[in-house]
Symmetry: C2
Subunit: 103 residues, 2 copies
């Protein structure tokens, strides 16, 4: 198990990023990572099975929203803050803010 591949900043596509953020489970994950913290998959609270969580993390990674690196048996996940900010300025901040906002 090695660190999986990630798309380059130039390869980030807005529809794909928005789609990745449009699922409630994934949005929750992104919020949990919001502060820039690096978390292991297992420390993410999500109401889904292990395999489904892995799937969602792959969607986020493939869209370029998160980065995953191997650390022993764990995978540490974090947001690609700088790249996203460079490519789509302000977007992630708005989304995280909007998710925290009450209905």
């Amino acid at each position: 198990m090695r660190t999986p591949s990630h798309p380059s900043t130039d390869a980030l596509r807005l529809p794909e990023v928005l789609h990745a953020l449009s699922d409630p489970v994934r949005l929750e994950i992104v919020c949990a990572l919001g502060g820039g913290s690096e978390l292991a998959c297992g420390h993410l609270e999500a109401p889904v099975s292990k395999s489904t969580l892995s799937h969602h993390l792959k969607v986020l990674r493939d869209a370029g929203v998160t980065r995953t690196r191997a650390d022993g048996t764990q995978r540490l996940v974090s947001l690609r803050l700088e790249e996203l900010e460079a490519r789509f300025p302000g977007l992630l901040g708005c989304v995280v803010d909007g998710a925290h906002r009450p209905a």
Copy 2:
């Protein structure tokens, strides 16, 4: 044919809004409406059939992104700028900017 119903500002949900924006055809529509202009369905250029376009406009409307009002045989579509700004500040601007940005 009357003006269809629209969700209230409070009812707007972020995942639904992001999903509405995550389709290339719909993103193009939103960009075309970006300046605040009010356009008839038929004046929107989209590489899809009339019924598919109607479907996409319904998704945008149901998510609260656009407003549609009847005017004779036409439907005039526009963005719900103020409401979206109140509910998810900055979001629409970031998305439209990001869509216009080159890869």
